[in-house]
Each structure stands twice: as structure tokens, then as C-alpha cells.
């Protein structure tokens, strides 16, 4: 082991010890996607002592079954807070954008609002929806991810949103960033580039947090019922059935959600030695150190 390798090994060990003081800011479009994509890792960070804040951009108003949007939004808000509590987050901030309507929200408006949260909470770790993931048909995640990625950059630059700089919200750079998505993109494990400064695929072991993640996903009862009802309806109209959903009781929906979380964990663990995992694209402090000095 060379001296420089040792130095970096020590750097990482020290970084691990610092985890107890980690400040994490999570940005999501809808709630379900965040819990399903990153709930395990975030619960682990919170358990290890990190402060986790969650900025929830949309209100999930359409993700329900036979329920008015207003009622859906209210329930989803409460259920997201319940899920956040289970995951160990400190707070949820609800921006209340109407779900499914983000295409027409000016990119810069959303970005600049997110800049304020980054400068206020001053996180060292940021979680954002991966706007580069393919084949995710919920484009709110794309629009939010795109604005959040730019907010990460802009928050560190003084000349963005000057009125707030004037009020004392100093520029801030989050050192680490996780791009999260459910495993929909067949090419997700291919690094976009081998260049030094590009986020790299990262698989994280979530085995110890899997049960917590399942409970948090189950807390989103309104969107879970919508998923189960839509699935049952689709199967019925095509002459098929899923015995679990013969009676659509809360217990059967909970079981379906559990199967979903376990299925995701297994899919993300493929090709690793873990039994449960989550996948990200990740850029950390080391990505600002040229590769030749890291190896």
C-alpha cells in the first residue's frame, strides 16, 4: 500500500467517524419514489446520527383511488410525515406543487426555491431524483431532479438569488450528492463516463434497514391503495387475478407493498453479495480530487 493510498484510507475512515454529524437534505417529487428508491440508506444515515430534512416538491394529489385531489393531497401529506418519522427524519417541508403539472413550472423558479433550502440547512449530503434515469414515466421526478441538480450547483455561487444572499443566506456547497431512482433503467449500472467528475453507479447494502423501509413504504396508504386498485383492475379487465388482491383489505395491500420493497431490494442487490440493496449514482468529495491522486 503506497503512502498516498494510506492517506486516503485514513481520510475515508475519518469521514466515516464524522457521519454522526452528517446533515442530509432530501429533495423529492412524489413521496413514494423517495421511500422506494432511497428509504433504506436514509434510514441508516438517520440511525447513525445524521439530521435529515426532506423537501417534498409535489403534493401527490392524483395518486389515489376514488378520492378527490384535495383529500388526497391532505392524506398524502400526513402519510409522508408518518413515513419520515419511521425513517428517522427531522422534518418534512411540503412545497405543495400540484402533482403531474410540473412541466410548466419554470425550471428556474423551482431551482431558486431549492437553493434557499440548501443554503438554509447547509447539508453536506444531498439526495435528488435522478433526472437522467430512463423509462420512468412519472416525469415530475425528471423535472424536480433537473431543477435540484442545478440548485446543488447554484447554491454554492454567490450571484444566485441575490436578495437571499443579502439577507445573510451564504452560498453553500453540499459535498456529496446521491441521484436516486427505482431500478427502471436497464443501463443504470453503466457509468455515464469514466471521467473524474461524473457521478458513478453505487450499490448500497440496506439489509439492516429493510424492515424499517418496508414500514415506511406501508405508511403511504393512499398511494399504496391506488397502486393495488389499479393493478387489480388491470388484471381483471384482462381476465387474470392475483390471489393476494382477491379481497382488497388493508392487510393485503400492506403485503403487496412489502413484496414491492423486497423485490426492489433484491433487484438492486443483483451482482453483489448483499441480500438487500439500493442503487444510486453518487458523487462525493473524492470526485473533486483527480483520479490520478486517488489511485
Amino acid at each position: 500500500m503506497s503512502r498516498s493510498t494510506l492517506r486516503f484510507f485514513a481520510f475515508w475512515l475519518f469521514g466515516g467517524l464524522l457521519a454522526a454529524q452528517q446533515k442530509v437534505l432530501v429533495i423529492s417529487a412524489d413521496s413514494a419514489n423517495l421511500v422506494l428508491s432511497a428509504g433504506g440508506l436514509l434510514a441508516g444515515m438517520a440511525r447513525a446520527g445524521a439530521d435529515v430534512w426532506w423537501v417534498r416538491v409535489t403534493n401527490d394529489e392524483k395518486d389515489s383511488w376514488k378520492l378527490a385531489p384535495e383529500e388526497t393531497a391532505l392524506r398524502s401529506r400526513r402519510e409522508s410525515e408518518a413515513a419520515a418519522k419511521l425513517l428517522g427524519f427531522r422534518q418534512v417541508i411540503h412545497l405543495g406543487y400540484r402533482a403531474g403539472e410540473l412541466a410548466e413550472t419554470p425550471f428556474t423558479t423551482l431551482r431558486d426555491r431549492l437553493v434557499i433550502f440548501i443554503r438554509h440547512y447547509r447539508p453536506n449530503v444531498l439526495f435528488i431524483p435522478n433526472p437522467y434515469t430512463e423509462y420512468d414515466r412519472v416525469l415530475d421526478r425528471f423535472y424536480t431532479g433537473r431543477a435540484a441538480e442545478d440548485a446543488w450547483r447554484a447554491a454554492a455561487i454567490e450571484n444566485f438569488v441575490p436578495p437571499f444572499t443579502h439577507l445573510g443566506l451564504a452560498p453553500h456547497r453540499a459535498g456529496e450528492i446521491y441521484y436516486y431512482a427505482q431500478p427502471l433503467d436497464p443501463q443504470r449500472r453503466q457509468a455515464e463516463s469514466t471521467s473524474t467528475f461524473v457521478p458513478q453507479p453505487k450499490v448500497v447494502d440496506i439489509t439492516p434497514m429493510l424492515e424499517t423501509k418496508i414500514r415506511a413504504a406501508q405508511a403511504l396508504t393512499t398511494s399504496n391503495e391506488a397502486m393495488a386498485q389499479a393493478l387489480k383492475a388491470r388484471l381483471e379487465t384482462t381476465g387474470r387475478r392475483l390471489p393476494l388482491l382477491d379481497t382488497l383489505a388493508p392487510a393485503s395491500i400492506q403485503k403487496l407493498v412489502e413484496e414491492n420493497v423486497r423485490g426492489l431490494a433484491k433487484l438492486c442487490a443483483q451482482g453483489t453479495s448483499y441480500s438487500a440493496a439500493e442503487e444510486f449514482h453518487y458523487a462525493g468529495v473524492e470526485f473533486r480530487i483527480p483520479r490520478k491522486y486517488r489511485e
Partner: protein, 315 residues
């Protein structure tokens, strides 16, 4: 290579893995049957998007042959496509689009007439609302269009109509989306399958995951549908330029000898369509094929796919 790093509790670890496999591109793709259903919606910005290089003309012809009703939703007015003035292009392209649709067996062409190449500044939710309404009216099982996630897509119409489609095809099934439509006698309806077209071999962006086989008759109709678009494709000027270039090299094409420039251009486009269909066929192990990115009915629930495969019962 890998970094190992422990979190505070020491109970668990996050390990950085680089799992890229560049050879994925060469994987053999499956030949698949058409997805089940009765109705297909081709959602495209332009008059000619059902016929371009990697085509979907063959697939449309196959859908028609196998008994599906196929509708073509053309979002733009195509005013810039061609060398005439915009209003003139609009008229010619519409006429050629209707003729090509007829060759393929498309039941109806529905024109939304958004301004060509100006879909970037339009309210995308309004375009989406129109598509949602039409999905509720025609009740397609399958939607076919540009792959909205493809990289290096320079044409804003392809990108934006693709994005509107990516949301519309499932959001049309939600009761809380555009309830005003229900006053007009339609009900919520979601399409279950999406077929995304590969535009060109641009970078890593679009990587198809299936082949659909075509027969010779379907390729023949795809050829005709393609060169029916004389305003933009089978143009005599292209053949003229090719003849001049060949003459400069001391060459000629015997098949072109008895043909005028218009006929030669048509033949050239027909060759192109046959060549690309054979090329894809060779890759798929059949005579003719087209390749697409296919999204199956439960692909949006990746965590449940294996469970559903195991537990769903078909009587």
C-alpha cells in the same frame, strides 16, 4: 476498484461498485409477439415520423395485418418540412401523410396542428391534455412514438411530444386528471404498453430491447409509405446529385438507366427501407425486422415484476 466506508453505527457498509459492462450493446435482443389488444395509437409530431429511417411503418403494417385498429395522431402542422412556403408545406405534407397512412392501413389521421418546431415554448400540459382526451376517446391498448428518454434528440417536437405521450398514456387512466373530459362522454382509460422508436444510431441514448419481425409484404408497404413523402424524401434532386457523383467517379447504376430522376429517387428510398429492414432482420435471425424499446404493462413496478410473474393466475 472500490471504496469501503462505514457509517457511524458500524453495523453496515456502503460499498462503491463500478459495474459497467460495455458489451451490453451487443446482447441479442428477443423477437417478441405484438402486445395484446385491439387498438394502437401512433403519437407523433410529424407527417413522416411513421416512416423514417428505423421506421415504424413495418410495425404499423403488421399491427393492421393482425387485426388492430391503428390511429395516427399528428401533433404538428409540418409547415417547415420541405422547400415550399410554410402554408404550402403544411398542405403538401398533410396530403402525403394521408396517402402514406392509407398505404399502411391506418384507420384515421388526427391532426392537432401545433406549430412545427415550436413545441418547446408551448404549454406542454395542454398538448398532454389533448392526447389524454384522445386516449380516453379511442381507448388504445398500445401507444407507439418517439422514445422520450433518448439522448441527443435535437428535434424539440420529438422530445416534447414524446414527453407528453410518456405521461398521457397512463395519466389518462386517472380520475383526477382532466375531469372536464368526463362531461363529453369519455371515461378514464390507460394504455398498457409503450413502444419507443429508435430514431437514429445516436450515441448511447436509445438502446432497443426488442425486435418485431416483419414479412415481405409489410416491408413493401413500409417502402411505399416512405417514398410517398416526396416533399421531404423521394425528391428528384437527391437522385440527380447521386447520378452526378457517380458519373464523376466513372460509375452508373444500371437499375436507374431507364428511370427519370423522380423514379430513381423513389427506387433509392425503397432500397434504403429494404436494406434497414433486412439489417435488423439479420440481427434478429429472421428475414426482416424493426427494433424498438418496449415497455411492458408492469415495467413501471420493477419491484413487483418477479412477484407478479410468479403469482398472477390466468384461468
Amino acid at each position: 476498484m472500490g471504496f469501503r466506508r462505514t457509517f457511524g453505527s458500524g453495523m453496515w457498509a456502503a460499498v462503491l461498485l463500478c459495474l459497467g459492462t460495455p458489451s451490453q450493446a451487443q446482447e441479442q435482443l428477443p423477437l417478441r409477439p405484438l402486445p395484446p389488444g385491439k387498438t394502437v395509437f401512433v403519437l407523433q409530431p410529424h407527417h413522416d415520423d411513421h416512416t423514417t429511417d428505423h421506421g415504424m411503418g413495418g410495425l404499423i403494417a403488421r399491427f393492421v395485418d393482425e387485426g388492430y385498429d391503428v390511429y395516427y395522431l399528428r401533433a404538428s402542422n409540418d409547415e417547415k418540412d420541405g422547400t415550399a412556403l410554410p402554408a404550402e408545406n403544411d398542405k403538401i405534407n398533410l396530403r402525403e401523410a394521408l396517402a402514406a397512412a392509407k398505404v399502411l392501413g391506418i384507420k384515421e389521421v388526427i391532426n392537432l396542428n401545433w406549430r412545427n418546431d415550436y413545441t418547446a415554448p408551448i404549454p406542454l400540459n395542454e398538448l398532454r391534455a389533448q392526447i389524454i382526451f384522445l386516449i380516453r376517446k379511442y381507448k388504445p391498448d398500445i401507444v407507439v412514438g418517439h422514445n422520450p428518454w433518448e439522448h441527443y434528440q435535437k428535434n424539440p417536437d420529438h422530445r416534447n411530444v414524446g414527453r407528453a405521450m410518456a405521461e398521457a398514456y397512463w395519466m389518462a387512466g386517472l380520475e383526477n386528471v382532466h375531469p372536464e373530459h368526463f362531461l363529453l362522454g369519455v371515461q378514464p382509460h390507460a394504455a398498457s404498453y409503450l413502444i419507443g422508436k429508435a430514431r437514429l444510431d445516436w450515441g448511447l441514448g436509445h438502446r432497443p430491447n426488442v425486435f418485431f419481425e416483419l414479412n415481405a409484404e409489410q416491408v413493401r408497404r413500409k417502402q411505399i409509405a416512405y417514398h410517398t413523402h416526396r416533399n421531404v424524401y423521394a425528391n428528384p434532386a437527391t437522385a440527380r446529385a447521386m447520378r452526378a457523383e457517380l458519373a464523376r467517379l466513372g460509375l452508373y447504376l444500371p437499375e436507374w438507366e431507364a428511370l427519370d430522376d423522380q423514379e430513381a429517387a423513389v427506387l433509392m428510398e425503397a432500397w434504403h427501407m429494404e436494406w434497414i429492414s433486412r439489417q435488423r432482420g439479420r440481427q434478429a435471425g429472421v428475414e426482416f425486422a424493426e427494433d424498438y424499446y418496449f415497455m411492458d404493462e408492469f415495467d413501471h413496478l420493477p419491484g413487483l415484476k418477479a412477484y407478479l410473474q410468479q403469482h398472477v393466475r390466468t384461468p
